[in-house]
Amino acid sequence: MAFYEDPLQITFILTAIYIIICMFMVITVEKVMQSTYWLIMMLVGVAVTFLLANSEIIFAFQISIYAGGIAVLLLFAVLLTEHDDAPFPNTLSKFLRATWMQLIIFLVLAVNMIVLILDTVDKPDYLREAGGGTPNVLGDSRIPVYGDENVAGAFEITENYTLFLWDNFGPVIPFLGLLLLAALLGSVKLAIREWDIEELSDEMKAQILKSEAS
């Protein structure tokens, strides 16, 4: 089926264009703060691609953890530090002179990977490995989420996922908890600051001396 006859494919292509525009702005925009805002918009676009791949639970994770938590951390990192805004030189010739090697790496790698992917997915061996069918299972799994006949599909998929995660990959959850706890403690240790009473304002100094005396 041609892509313009399939609403799912059109949606995906529009989302991909949106992601690429946001990504371009993330890398090239002048202010770091604006770059972070564009990153948040890009992360929402990535979440939509997860939704198109039939996984509401990962969509929810992406929105809440990535576009919510991690983006706020990055915003704080931008707010608490100083930046020289201007990622690239203003003129094209200076830009090319400064980044020609990286540009070549980017172009060669991107073209190479995309050609390789398009070449590989057409091979018969690959199709056989993928289960004999055409490799287009995305958006069309056994439990259709957006089908008219099965409105509760989304809940079923999420329930299946949580049961699957808990039964087969049980240790993953405490592992992630430990990892995040270690990251929390490590970042507190790194960011904590030994302060000197002489650095404080007179008002604060008087308050602390008063509390020590009492």
């Binding site: 399939d6 609403p7 995906f12 992601i19 690429i20 990504m23 993330v26 890398i27 770091v32 990153l39 890009m42 990535v46 691609t49 997860f50 198109l52 791949a53 039939n54 996984s55 953890i65 990535y66 991690i70 951390l73 990055l74 990192a77 608490l80 530090t81 100083e82 930046h83 020289d84 990622p87 980044t99 990286q102 540009l103 790496i105 980017f106 991107a110 990977m113 992917i117 398009l118 997915v121 993928a130 289960g131 490799p135 287009n136 995305l138 799994s141 056994r142 299946n160 996922y161 699957f164 995660l165 087969n168 993953v172 990892l179 995040l180 990251a183 970042s187 240790k189 790194l190 960011a191």
Partner: protein
């Protein structure tokens, strides 16, 4: 009629995002921008894992989701540690431009 998205769409988008993130990591000098580019690369990986999960998922078609779950958790930890390191570096150096921070660099012997 069953609608579906070919897997190569996902993979091509993922490859392009990964390379653009790599370009950002290689060209930017601000540490926060480098971390943002790394986030783009991690997202590219997530998209390709979702695509391959649709192809090769065996038990419940959801193995790939577990990996995406782990990667999102690890990215959160990485961002937290990154923020703390940036604060520490900023306090000691007054800036977070990575090309100007070279106290770990070996001294040149002439």
């Amino acid at each position: 009629m069953a609608f579906s998205i070919p897997v190569e769409y996902f993979l091509a988008l993922s490859a392009f995002m990964f390379c653009a993130g790599l370009f950002g990591v290689l060209t930017q000098r601000n540490a926060v921008r480098i971390l943002i580019s790394v986030e783009i690369m991690l997202n590219a990986t997530n998209i390709s894992i979702m695509a391959f999960n649709g192809l090769f998922g065996v038990a419940s078609d959801q193995e790939g989701w577990v990996f995406v779950f782990i990667i999102i958790g690890i990215a959160a930890a990485e961002a937290a540690i990154g923020l703390a390191i940036f604060l520490s570096v900023y306090r000691n150096f007054g800036e977070i431009t990575v090309s100007n921070i070279f106290s770990l660099r070996e001294e040149e012997t002439s």
